[in-house]
């Protein structure tokens, strides 16, 4: 008898529709081209066969380039189909590819939702510290991310400082990215110092760098730089194309997916021109714009539908995939937050998205919440349970049990129950309320946010030992202090 069964999987688009999207993306790259704002990227791409579209290009060393299909096809062949990430000690391999699903918190929040102060405010070092420690404790997050921007260091090192703390205090591999071109080198140095050498970093990647093309059809100076440098260092780049329907992309979901594919294919090509075999991830953060407010909802069902199509395209092309799902646009830890994030997490899992970034995030990718991160973590657990599917444990699944049951009997102490209950049923943490009601007064009934808050504080009081050696930690301090001073700051904040 086979124990295991079908891994639940959801497809919302036919195979031939996916092929049409890919073909049209190739046509866009050929006929419309991509504007490349970075001169080094421009030269690399030209040297590898991309053709200038307007004649003014050669003077500026930037501009629109056209990409014949055959070039891109070759690039797709050299990009790895799976990527392995390792924690700060070089252990715990995480495989990114196939239909494996890994969750990480939504990245680069400008604000933190702080229930203890009852307001939304700018994060400071202590918030980052708490956030990282919490992520260490939450097993369903296989990857950490530089989720908050600390406001107590000079703005220009906002990107490197969050990586510094993640490496110093966290142990999981990190998803990060740059806000300034100059930051790449120090961030790479930090990763190298943890691994010991540049070659060790190449061998065992520790971080992924997000790089967003600028819709429509542009690769900016900043993000092209990131892609090129990451490729050379063997650091995986995650392309986060974000078509916004009806504004920076066609209003149709399929049109947005075509644009996403074109922008992302250009990224794949760019990375491969910088270094053949460079690891890349087919990612995205599209949004179905709300044309009443001009906002970019991440919790809209149409946003998730574009994500799912983007991922189907990435899988068809044989690349590891990513999507920004599991976020909400709500401003509080409430019904909307749960509904939008829960839906995103489940749909992402069913779509086999390899890297799902989003948990904890609210308010259009601008605000993180530890309490929401805690609650989303429970949903990720449910998603993993769902992916394990329904197993057939016995030939006859219920008949013998029921046959042996006396009238009025129960199965609570039946060996069959004891044998299977942990495998069949998952048990969420205390943030999810499954206890009997203790009171009929609404004020006594705890909200999800309150329960999550208690759990967060409980987990944060647990001691944890440092993961990196003192030497590495000192080296990280040195690199960070130098960077802060370079940018006019006094030193590390208290």
């Amino acid at each position: 008898m086979t124990e295991h069964t079908l891994r639940p999987k959801l497809t919302i688009i036919s195979d031939s529709f996916v092929d049409d999207i890919i073909e049209e993306a190739f046509a866009i790259l050929d006929k419309v081209g991509i504007f490349v704002e970075n001169s080094e990227a421009y030269s690399l791409l030209s040297e590898h066969g991309a053709k200038p579209i307007d004649s003014g290009n050669s003077v500026r060393g930037t501009g629109k380039l056209s990409f014949p299909k055959s070039l891109i096809e070759d690039a797709l062949k050299s990009a790895p189909r799976t990527i392995q990430l390792y924690d700060v000690n070089g252990d715990n391999e995480i495989n990114i590819g196939g239909d494996e699903v890994h969750f990480d918190p939504g990245s680069a929040a400008l604000y933190i939702h702080d229930p203890s102060e009852g307001r939304i405010r700018k994060p400071v070092t202590n918030d980052l510290r708490r956030f990282i420690k919490l992520v260490n404790k939450l097993d369903n997050y296989h990857i950490q991310s530089t989720a908050l921007i600390s406001s107590d260091v000079p703005e220009k090192c906002g990107d490197s400082y969050r990586l510094y703390l993640a490496l110093k205090l966290g142990f999981k591999p990190v998803i990060t990215g740059i806000f300034e071109k100059e930051s790449f080198s120090v961030m790479k140095d930090m990763l190298t110092s943890v691994r010991g050498s540049e070659s060790a970093l190449k061998e065992k990647p520790l971080a992924i760098f997000d790089a967003c093309p600028s819709p429509p059809l542009m690769w900016s100076d900043l993000t092209s730089h990131s892609v090129i440098e990451a490729a050379r260092a063997g650091i995986p780049s995650e392309f986060v194309s974000m078509p916004l329907t009806g504004s920076t992309a066609p209003i149709t979901l399929s049109g947005a997916a075509v644009q996403h594919a074109a922008e992302t294919l250009a990224g794949v090509f760019l990375a491969q021109t910088a270094q053949t075999g460079a690891p890349v991830i087919w990612g995205g953060s599209p949004s179905a714009m709300d044309l009443r407010y001009g906002t970019t909802p991440m919790g809209a069902i149409e946003t998730m539908m574009i994500d799912m199509v983007d991922v189907a395209v990435g899988k068809k092309l044989g690349l590891p995939t990513h999507a920004y799902m599991g976020l909400s646009d709500s401003k509080g830890v409430d019904y909307q937050a749960g509904q939008e994030s829960g839906l995103g997490i489940i749909l992402a899992a069913l779509s086999g998205v390899n890297v799902v970034s989003g948990p904890g995030m609210m308010d259009f990718e601008s605000c993180q919440s530890l309490e929401k991160l805690m609650l989303d973590h429970e949903v990720c657990g449910m998603a993993y349970r769902l992916l394990n599917g329904i197993s057939r444990r016995d030939d006859l699944m219920a008949l013998p049990l029921l046959q042996s049951l006396p009238k009025g009997g129960h199965l609570l102490t039946n060996p069959h129950t004891l044998k299977w209950f942990r495998e069949e049923i998952s048990f969420p943490g205390k943030a999810i309320d499954r206890r009997a009601r203790g009171s009929d007064k609404l004020e006594d009934l705890q909200t999800a946010e309150k329960r999550a808050q208690a759990e967060v504080e409980r987990l944060l009081t647990e001691e944890s030992e440092p993961y990196v050696s003192t030497d590495v930690s000192d080296e990280l301090d040195r690199l960070m202090v130098e960077e802060i001073k370079r940018l006019g700051g006094a030193g590390l904040p208290k």
Partner: protein, 213 residues
Amino acid sequence: MSKPNQEIHNCILDGDAGKTKILAEKIVNAGSNPTEALQPFITAIRHAGDLFDQGEFFLPQLLLSAKAMQAAMDVMFPSSEGKSAARLSRGTVIAGTIQGDIHEIGKNLVCALLSAHGFQVVDLGADVALDRFVQETEQHKPDFLVLSALLTTTMINQKHLIDQLNDKGIRDGVKVLVGGAPVTSDWAEEIGADGYAPDASRAVALAIKLLDA
């Protein structure tokens, strides 16, 4: 509403720049006083703004209405008379996303709503160099500078710009408004801006309040 005024109203609300332009040309050819004749256009565009605020009008419709309004203004107040158009309008605005920052959707929205509420807006686009803001301010002496920044790393350029305006001695002539996702009222205060608003509707309300003050 009189029949011709109703027609103007409909054209603006339909966002029909072509027809609006024809109506404006008729008015000019008939020799009417453009200042008086503009009134129904202003009423219509403000109505469009109100409909947007109430969630009944969608962004594309609002933008088309603002375009139609602009078409009428161009006919009735050709550039040489820009000054009188400016006087007629609620106020003049120079807007842009600050140097180093290419996020422009929010700025576009603020511009559209300001136009829809009768402001004369010149949009310099995104990633606008500080020098350019300074030059334009010197040359056109707008009532408002609208500075958008979406990155923690580019916000600081709002401060640098205000410093430069101070250095040139032209800071007092213009009201500087700042906004964008990482911007807060504390930041506005810290850098000596005249105001901050969290969204486009409140940006309009702020501008109107500052004009009245």
